[in-house]
């Protein structure tokens, strides 16, 4: 029996190739994910190990404490066995760009670069600052983006906002330090770093010496409580695991896409094995005639699937290795802030996962077809022609599909309409409804194929004459097969549509809220939370004819009960959306609270809250209003004179500015820029910029997700190609007859293309419908007050591309069909 199976595999190898390609792609993606993340992780640990190798023992602040006292360094240096000890300084020191304004959204981080063997900095060009207090190094990315070169003079602000100039002597690679990579990094001598950042203590003390274990004990003894002492090795492990957590999240996210791909691959395989069994009915019947048991027939199909699964999983692992390696190359070329230089490895867990998933999915998908094979009666061997497979919509099918659809849509409706929006449960409920609905569609699919193909085939029927008409008939000819083929595509299109609906709706919703809550043109903030905007800036803008409104907002933190909350005030016209009470004019002893904060504090309108103030002791305030959480007002807002009385002179934390109608944007912007000219750390952001950045982020996300879903689409196209080539094979004589009757090769090709087009469009339309409905439900569940928006252009593009892709999938099968010799096709088969 085994020999028969293997012979069968050989005979049908071309057909099985497409099938295994589906699995190979899925497994390849999963394995590639592992290769990528494993290698990056290995790179991280290589780097941190290399760095930490220089360190015998590291002393770090623990718990509440954020820095180590300078005195500690002296004590550590005095410990016997300590060859060298250096305190590392880290703090903020805004670098000014060539335009004289602080670069980046956050202030640049300054670090000390220590002399001697404990120097852990990687200087990639030039030199370190050595002991020259007038020199600095800058990280290579910031240098590149802002056009600084070694030899240039750079300007950096100290903690008192005074400008200092340094000669740039080298460029630094921030390595695996995510904070430095994000904010940009400046390196100074220790003394300069202390002077510039104003940091009183050390961020870390590194100690050199032999025998780290003994050293650790000795250092810990002098260090006392509140600090953590780690050996170099422990430090490396610590750093590596912190990087590892990020990689874990990336792995999980990528694997989700891998699983979607495998689900689609499973459908493709299920379909292929079904068709293979159907085509081999006579062969199987013959086997039964000559004495093979049902069990043997079942076994032979399963063994076939095992071989296919194994072969394609192994190929998938190889493909994954290649994919991972290529991705790493690309990341290196793009200078992604990730270590991509570790040797590319395919780890044992990756191999096990790839093989298991590939094998399970293939064999699992072949189970049902194998069972069908056992139902082939021996008598079938004697029938000359395989009879037409008719399909009737059974009552059971319709009923169970209806049940699933109702349950699915009902569940989704509950998640979207009844449950509180913005909570994870609601979204999970909606997604659960989505899965149920999808199962319903899967069951009812074969019933829908005919009417849907008539619907989408309407135009091709009119356009392409006989080939068009025949193609549309053929598309609906084997409804079960067509349904499975198209559902595979439906999955991808559903997810793509869903994502694009969610993205578009998020965009519109957020834009709406921004318009409503932040009807402002410009916003002034500073790089740091605690640093602030001198009141004179806002005051100088007030009264400018180019501007209609200037709202200055001040806040500080204060204790309320056991919480520390933002208490503040505002001056200028602003009207938040009040959800309870009335805000009118806040009087003495009154406060308005942001609704989410009120909920956290457990107070309602009418209650009183006790606020511990800096200058006026604890004051008892009456809650007169609650306002929406999106408002730019401080969480606890009091009247301006009261705020002054409670907290003294506090500078502005943000200034909201509106330009007057009819004033050109660049004029208004000029006025604002002039006002902040003397304050390099104040950031001016315009609402169009904010929205632009937000849009960019969304677009980027959409692009990445769509790209990753593209794999599922690709696999489903393999399914279409596969089904089509099998159908072409089945219909060899039919095609030959048509050719004999005068259908040209081109017309035959067109016929098959239209059939694929119809299949593609059916899959896409169902996907768009599902994606649209569940996109709506998902956005309702995710965002409070969501505004639904369907990006019709994008969706039309998905549909068009699906149709086009279907046509592409038909190219090879169609070409084979058109090239087949008429005479041979008529006589054989």
């Amino acid at each position: 029996m085994l020999r028969t199976t293997l012979a069968g595999l050989r005979a049908y190898r071309l057909r099985l190739l497409l099938t295994s390609l589906a699995i190979t792609l899925g497994v390849g993606f999963i394995a590639g994910t592992f290769v990528l993340t494993d290698t990056v992780r290995a790179g991280f640990s290589q780097r941190v190990t290399a760095e930490a190798d220089k360190v015998g023992v590291a002393v770090l602040p623990k718990g509440e404490r954020s820095s180590l006292p300078v005195r500690l360094l002296e004590r550590v240096r005095a410990v016997p066995g300590v060859l060298d000890a250096q305190g590392l300084v880290r703090g903020k020191a805004p670098l000014l760009g060539k335009d004289g304004r602080a670069v980046g959204d956050l202030a640049t981080t300054a670090i000390s670069i220590v002399p001697g063997p404990l120097d852990r900095a990687t200087i990639v060009s030039g030199t370190g600052p050595g002991s020259d207090d007038r020199t600095a190094v800058l990280d290579k990315n910031t240098a590149r983006t802002h056009g600084f070169r070694v030899g240039d003079t750079i300007t950096v602000l100290d903690s008192g906002r005074r400008e200092h100039r340094f000669r740039l002597v080298g460029l630094l690679d921030p390595g695996v330090d995510q904070e430095l990579a994000y904010t940009g990094a400046l390196g100074f001598t220790t003394a300069t770093a202390q002077r510039m950042t104003g940091e009183k203590g050390f961020h870390e003390i590194d100690v050199a010496g032999a025998d780290p274990a003994r050293l650790k004990q000795a250092v810990a003894a002098v260090a006392g409580p509140g600090v953590e002492v780690l050996t170099g090795e422990e430090l490396a492990a610590d750093l590596a695991s912190r990087a590892g957590v990020q990689m874990e999240a990336l792995t999980v996210a990528l694997l989700m896409f891998g699983l979607v791909a495998m689900l689609v691959a499973a459908l493709v395989i299920y379909n292929t094995f079904n068709i293979l069994v159907a085509q081999r009915t006579r062969e199987l019947a013959l086997l039964r005639c000559i004495g093979a048991t049902r069990g043997q027939v079942f076994g032979s199909i399963l063994i076939e699937s095992v071989v296919v699964g194994l072969v394609s999983a192994v190929l998938g692992l190889l493909a994954g290795y290649g994919l991972g390696a290529v991705t790493l190359r690309v990341l290196t070329a793009l200078e992604a802030p990730l270590p991509t230089d570790a040797p590319v490895t395919l780890s044992a867990p990756a191999i096990v996962a790839g093989l298991t998933i590939g094998l399970l999915v293939t064999v699992g998908a072949a189970l049902l077809p194998a069972r069908t094979a056992t139902h082939v009666a021996p008598i079938a061997a004697l029938r000359t022609q395989a009879e037409q497979r008719t399909f009737r919509a059974g009552l059971l099918r319709v009923l169970s599909a209806a049940l699933f659809l109702l349950a699915g849509l009902g569940t989704a409706a509950v998640g979207a309409l009844v449950m509180p929006p913005g909570q994870q449960v609601s979204l999970v409920v909606v997604m659960g409804g989505g899965v149920l609905t999808f199962l319903g569609v899967l069951i009812i699919g074969p019933v829908l194929v005919k009417p849907l193909s008539a619907l989408v085939g309407w135009i091709p029927r009119k356009l392409f004459g006989v080939p068009g008409r025949l193609a549309v008939d053929n598309a609906g000819r084997n409804p079960r097969r067509a349904a499975t083929t198209t559902v595979a595509l439906t999955i991808g299109v559903t997810l793509m549509t869903l994502i694009s609906v969610v993205t578009a709706s998020t965009r519109v919703t957020v834009a709406d809220k921004l318009d409503e809550q932040f009807p402002i043109d410009y916003l002034l903030v500073t790089q740091e939370r605690d640093a602030s905007i001198p009141r004179s800036v806002g005051e100088s803008l007030r009264g400018r004819p180019e501007l209609t409104s200037v709202v200055q907002i001040r806040d500080t933190r204060a204790g309320v009960g056991g919480h520390r909350v933002e208490v503040g005030t505002f001056s200028g016209p602003i009207s938040p959306d009040v959800t309870a009470g009335a805000m009118g004019d806040l009087g003495p002893g009154q406060v308005a609270i942001a609704a989410p904060t009120a909920q956290r504090l457990g107070v309602r309108a009418g209650d009183t809250v006790a606020v511990r103030t800096k200058a006026a002791g604890t004051v008892s305030l009456e809650v007169v209003a609650l306002f929406g959480g999106e408002s730019p007002l401080p969480a606890l807002t009091v009247a301006e004179p009261e705020f002054d009385r409670y907290f003294g002179a506090v500078p502005d934390s943000r200034v909201l500015i509106n330009a007057a109608d009819g004033v050109p944007a660049d004029r208004a912007r000029g006025v604002v820029d002039a006002a902040v000219a003397g304050h390099p750390t104040i950031k001016v952001s315009s609402s169009t910029e904010v929205r632009g950045q937000f849009d960019e982020t969304l677009d980027m996300m959409l692009l990445i997700i769509t790209g990753l879903l593209g794999l599922a689409i690709l696999i489903s196209l393999l399914g279409i190609a596969n089904t089509l080539s099998l159908s072409v094979h089945e219909r060899t004589r039919e095609s030959a007859l048509l050719r004999a009757l005068g259908l040209t090769g081109a017309q035959l090709r067109r016929m098959l293309s239209v059939e694929a087009l119809v299949l593609g469009l059916i899959g896409a339309l169902v996907g768009v419908a599902l994606g649209g409905v569940f996109g709506w439900a998902a956005i309702r569940a995710m965002l409070d007050g969501a505004v639904f928006s369907a990006p019709l252009g994008q969706i039309a593009l998905f549909v068009a591309l699906s149709g086009l892709a279907g046509v592409l999938a038909a190219v090879l099968p169609a070409r084979r069909a058109a090239r087949a010799s008429i005479v041979e096709s008529l006589t054989t088969g």
Partner: protein, 250 residues
């Protein structure tokens, strides 16, 4: 002059000259046709006979433009087939040639009527309704037009195939063992119908068969053996056909 005589004087519908066909290469070379010269008269019903493997189907395929000969020429009407592109051959089949095969003549997804009209639709031509009605009547399929092939008997299917071949008024109809899969009664029906279409519609038919009874329906029988034309019999009867075959085999 009678109608039949006029037709006899018209140029032949199909002419083959020195037609050879070689399959395979080296040791596997098969000479399926070895220099066949034959002409098929317009408005006549000609049968091609010969033992199995003698090259009947090959000859028909080459005459009908389904296959290309190794050497020699074929004319259908005034068109020479040699050297025509696949596209031109297809158009020629579409315009001038009808087919009836031994089996699998009909598209399973189409009804009998749709199958009959198929060649016209492929050629985007209007059906001649008078001809259509007459053909349907002659074939006796009026009440079966809405049925799909699976719902028709073998004989009915072949009659649909013949009707389909007739509907486009081709210059010639080629039939390859059209009764090969039928019982003798259904076979007789189909054959009478073929003969009737020659007599009444002036259709030219070339039929391949190995059945002497079937061949006797024709106006003329040509005999093939080992790829060569070996005998030519006019006004055949089952007995004269059988005699000729016996002579050739013996």
């Amino acid at each position: 002059m009678t109608l039949t005589e006029t037709r006899r004087q018209a140029p032949p519908a199909v002419v083959a000259r020195a037609l050879t066909k070689i399959y395979g290469q080296g040791d596997a070379r098969v000479h399926a046709l070895r220099g066949v010269d034959v002409a098929f008269a317009t408005g006549a019903f000609t049968a091609i006979m010969g033992p199995s493997g003698s090259g009947k189907s090959t000859l028909m395929h080459c005459l009908a433009g389904l296959d290309t000969a190794t050497s020699g020429t074929v004319h259908v009407g005034d068109v020479e087939l040699t050297g025509l592109s696949d596209k031109r051959l297809t158009l020629l089949r579409r315009e001038r040639i009808g087919f009836v095969f031994q089996a699998f003549n009909l598209l399973p997804t189409l009804t009998a009527e749709q199958n009959i009209r198929l060649p016209l639709e492929i050629a985007a031509r209007q059906a001649d309704q008078v001809l259509f009605d007459r053909v349907i009547e002659t074939v006796g399929l009026a009440d079966r037009l809405g049925h799909r092939p699976a719902e028709l008997s073998g004989g009915q299917q072949q009659r649909v195939a013949v009707a389909r071949a007739l509907i486009s008024k081709p210059q010639v109809i080629f039939a390859d063992e059209p009764t090969g899969n039928l019982d003798s009664r259904s076979g007789a029906e189909v054959l009478s119908f073929l003969r009737a279409s020659v007599r009444e519609l002036g259709q030219t038919i070339v039929m391949v068969t190995h059945d002497p009874v079937a061949a006797a329906y024709a106006d003329r029988v040509v005999f093939l053996r080992d790829g060569e034309l070996v005998s030519d019999l006019a006004a055949p009867t089952p007995q004269s056909v059988l005699d000729t075959l016996m002579r050739l085999e013996g």
